[in-house]
């Protein structure tokens, strides 16, 4: 039925085009320097940090500064490389099962014009049984973009932290792990193969564990760290299995290889149709589990809000801008696998899009009932990550990456802003310790407002552009234009719209509770120092302008050369990337989504800025909610509130049902096993050992060993008794023996010779 034959590797079109090249600019080929710098800084801080005048923080800041500069240069080199590189592409011989797949492979990547070859560089990591494992870098658009984002946010967080954790008892330790975290994330971003990606992924997890539990003396903090780590373990299992499945699947398609971890090969083979759909589906589902835990997707998101127990800069770095987007980035990296595995093209729903869409709404709803400003942001992060995953799920790859890019800036800005607030009022509780801070902290207030508007998605701030692109990418707007995505994901469009309204509303609530009304805390809050406000302003500035990097195609207000710059440079057009189709932006969609956002702001604003404000005036104190609000009036609203306040009872489910449900029986089972199997075995072994010992003692030791010793003793004694007769002391008898022996020996000599 299927004929098996091999395409020979050659450079003139035979074999499978991987879309990578071994050549390229020096900076693109030596991008490993960027993760190396913070890694060295980690070692340096760990060993010499305490002896440095600023406790090692200067080393961290310097290394990230240099890494950022390198990333900028690398970005510039990539911009040049993307359009002007015409070097040799790498081809790989593959086993093809039928002619159809072959044709599929050939036409792939053709329609996009000149391919953007990723710069690929490897070195042998280790070799076993002739199978070679490599480490290396695969530098393409998303990697370069992530390098820039991670180094920039990390640098700003480092600077911010020098003030924020100033005087902390583990100041040096904090900076060491901040550096290691940056290094692992950068390593993850440039990973050339999935094995290396897995290692970096685990490193990121470990660093998050250490940093969340930075103040581990308090039980909730160490619990949060453990929860984050263990929840991530659940997904890591999926990553491990998925990577293994792909390793062998790719190996079966390559004639000269046993298996391959290479991301480029895996994606190229998946896109070419050389791998079976079932394999890809299994691998995608496994990898999806990893994404759900790392990127906080419903229903493994519960660790992320708890992880706010860590210091705020860590929350900004790990839980807004970089670590949690590792999952999103992993999907983007392995997009060939997911695109084929979930059959994103031409369908209207799939696991990834659905989980993403669900997560956006679930996270956004939870953000409404939080008192803790950081938890609002945490749930907002979950919601926005859901947006990205949903975008990837509907095939809007560029939109997802763009949202990741813009979100990194405004969410880091918001997190650092919340840190600045808590620095001033020494609390995270919006209801009891904040309010009216706009007068006391003008810089924090302004930057926070910019971040909020960007997050809510009002034009022309960053969030608007990326959110709009995601909504366009769903391709579900058949009524008013804006069609032409990868499928008709109308449900996702609805989820996205709903979340846009919810996001605007909960951020309005958050801003009102923090910055408006009257101050409800104690003492006199004061504005933070320049090391906190300068990073805030930089991030706020980026939150304003980042959206202009990817103006939609056909946008009438900007010249064509400014349109889709981000998409042009970041989205790969190469063999290892699936051929995705792009939605057509439409004015109607943008206007409707803006109206939805305005509606959300208006609803929440009416409640807080009008009703609560008025109620506060009458009551004479600064209120945070209406005394006779909907939750007190309507039972349904109260039930909803209780459900949200208990986080959908997911923690109860995990702790009460899953953990206790497993813990009890497992403990009883383990006890029984312990008592009846292990103890009995041990007892039996002990008794047998005693019996065996007695037998050995009686039979072997007493009879054989002692017997042999005694026998040799008495034998030598008897021999001596006999021989002492010869030793008469008489010279002449000795001489006689001597002569007799000499005679005998002489006789023997004569006889023999």
């Amino acid at each position: 039925m299927t004929e098996l034959f091999t395409i020979a590797a050659s450079t003139d079109g035979g074999g499978l085009a991987l879309g990578i090249t071994e050549g390229g600019n020096w900076f693109l080929r030596n991008v490993w320097l960027i993760p190396l710098l913070p890694a060295l800084s980690f070692v340096g801080i760990l060993f010499f940090g305490k002896r440095m005048p600023r406790g090692g923080s200067e080393l961290g800041v310097a290394s990230l500064g240099i890494a950022f500069l390198l990333a900028v240069v690398t970005g510039a080199a990539w911009v040049d490389h993307r359009d002007d590189y015409h070097g040799e592409e790498v081809y790989r011989a593959v086993v093809v099962h039928d002619a159809h797949a072959d044709a599929h492979a050939d036409d792939h990547g053709g329609g996009h014009g000149h391919p953007s070859l990723a710069v690929h560089r490897t070195a042998t990591w280790f070799q076993t049984n002739g199978v070679e494992f490599t480490v290396g870098t695969l530098v393409d658009g998303p990697a370069v973009m992530m390098l820039l984002v991670v180094t920039l946010v990390s640098l700003l967080v480092h600077v911010y932290s020098t003030d924020y954790v100033h005087g902390d008892r583990r100041y040096t330790h904090f900076f060491a792990f901040l550096s290691l975290f940056s290094a692992s994330m950068l390593l993850l971003v440039v990973s050339e193969n999935t094995l290396q990606l897995l290692c970096a992924w685990e490193l990121v997890g470990v660093c998050s564990f250490v940093l969340i539990g930075h103040w581990w003396e308090e039980k909730p903090n160490s619990d949060a760290a453990l929860k984050a780590f263990l929840t991530n373990r659940v997904g890591d299992m999926g990553l491990l299995v998925g990577v293994t499945v792909l390793f062998f699947a790719v190996g079966s398609a390559l004639p000269d290889r046993f298996g391959s971890f290479s991301i480029a090969e895996t994606n190229a083979l998946a896109s070419s149709g050389a791998l079976s759909h079932t394999t890809l589906l299994i691998a995608s589902c496994c990898l999806m589990a990893a994404v759900m835990s790392k990127s906080g997707q419903f229903f493994l998101h519960t660790w992320l809000p708890d992880a706010m127990a860590g210091p705020t800069p860590v929350s900004a770095l790990i839980h807004a801008a970089t670590m949690v987007v590792a999952g999103v980035f992993m999907i983007a990296r392995m997009y060939g696998v997911f695109f084929e595995g979930f059959q994103i093209d031409g369908s209207s729903i799939n696991l990834m899009a659905f989980i993403g869409g669900l997560t956006t709404i679930v996270g956004a709803c939870l953000a409404f009932v939080q008192r803790d400003i950081k938890k609002v942001l945490a749930y907002s992060t979950i919601s926005q990550l859901g947006y990205m995953v949903m975008a990837l799920g509907v095939g809007a790859w560029t939109a997802a990456m763009f949202h990741l890019f813009t979100h990194a800036f405004f969410k880091a800005c918001l997190f650092l802003g919340s840190g600045s607030v808590s620095h001033a009022v020494h609390s995270f509780d919006m209801k009891s310790d904040m309010g009216g801070l706009r007068k006391h902290m003008p810089h924090t207030y302004r930057t926070f407002m910019i971040g909020t508007v960007a997050l809510a998605g009002l034009p022309p701030l960053a969030g608007f552009w990326s959110k709009d692109e995601i909504l366009v990418g769903t391709g579900g707007w058949g009524l008013l234009g804006g069609t032409g995505g990868n499928g008709a994901y109308t449900l996702m469009l609805g989820m996205g719209m709903l979340t846009a309204a919810l996001t605007a509303a909960y951020m309005t609530r958050c801003v009102y509770l923090t910055f408006f009304g009257e101050f409800r805390g104690h003492g006199q809050p004061h504005e933070s120092g320049p090391r906190i406000t300068v990073p805030l302003w930089i991030l706020a500035g980026l939150a304003v302008v980042a959206g202009f990097m990817n103006l939609p195609k056909g946008f009438q207000m900007a010249p064509g050369s400014f349109q889709e710059r981000f998409g042009h440079f970041v989205e790969p057009v190469a063999g290892y990337f699936p051929a995705i189709s792009h939605g057509t932006p439409s004015w109607s969609l943008a206007v409707v989504s803006t109206l939805v956002v305005v509606g959300g702001i208006a609803a929440a604003g009416w409640y807080y800025f009008v009703k609560v404000e008025a109620a506060s005036k009458t009551a004479g104190t600064s209120l945070t909610e209406l005394p006779d609000g909907p939750t007190t009036k309507y039972p349904l609203a109260r039930m909803g509130h209780t459900l949200l306040a208990n986080k959908y009872y997911l923690d109860h489910l995990y702790n009460g049902v899953v953990v206790d449900g497993t813990k009890g029986p497992v403990a009883r089972f383990a006890y029984r096993i312990n008592q009846q199997v292990i103890d009995r075995t041990v007892d039996l072994v002990g008794e047998t050992a005693v019996k065996a010992g007695v037998t050995v003692y009686e039979k072997v030791d007493q009879l054989v060993v002692d017997g042999a010793v005694n026998a040799s003793g008495s034998a030598s004694s008897a021999t001596g008794e006999e021989l002492r007769k010869i030793n008469s002391g008489k010279v002449q008898s000795y001489a006689a023996i001597l002569f007799a022996a000499a005679t005998v020996l002489a006789g023997v000599l004569i006889v023999i010779v």
């Binding site: 002391g729 002449q732 002569f739």
Partner: protein, 99 residues
């Protein structure tokens, strides 16, 4: 030249010497018997040296004579000391090293 007569004489002397060493009880006589054995050997050496027409035999004989002189000197001194201590030179009575 006939070698046999010398060898026969030497063998007879050696045998007499061995008998003396083993059978006599007088220490001085035992020493003299040892001299006989040594001289029997000397006779052999000289005879073979003459037979082979080399001086090696005579040279070895001279060495043996010199060593024998020294040995007799030591031996006689020991016998003398024995006599002084025990008033006897009967070798059969000297058996303190008996096992």
């Amino acid at each position: 030249m006939l070698l046999n007569q010398f060898l026969l004489l030497s063998a007879v002397l050696f045998a007499i010497g061995v008998y003396g060493v083993l059978a006599r009880r007088n220490g001085v006589l035992v020493l003299m018997s040892i001299e006989l054995i040594l001289n029997a050997v000397n006779l052999n050496l000289v005879a073979f040296g003459a037979f082979r027409e080399t001086v090696g035999g005579e040279v070895f004989a001279l060495f043996v004579i010199a060593v024998a002189a020294a040995e007799v000197g030591v031996g006689l001194a020991m016998v003398l000391l024995l006599y002084r201590n025990r008033r006897s030179i009967d070798l059969t009575q000297i058996d303190q090293l008996r096992g």
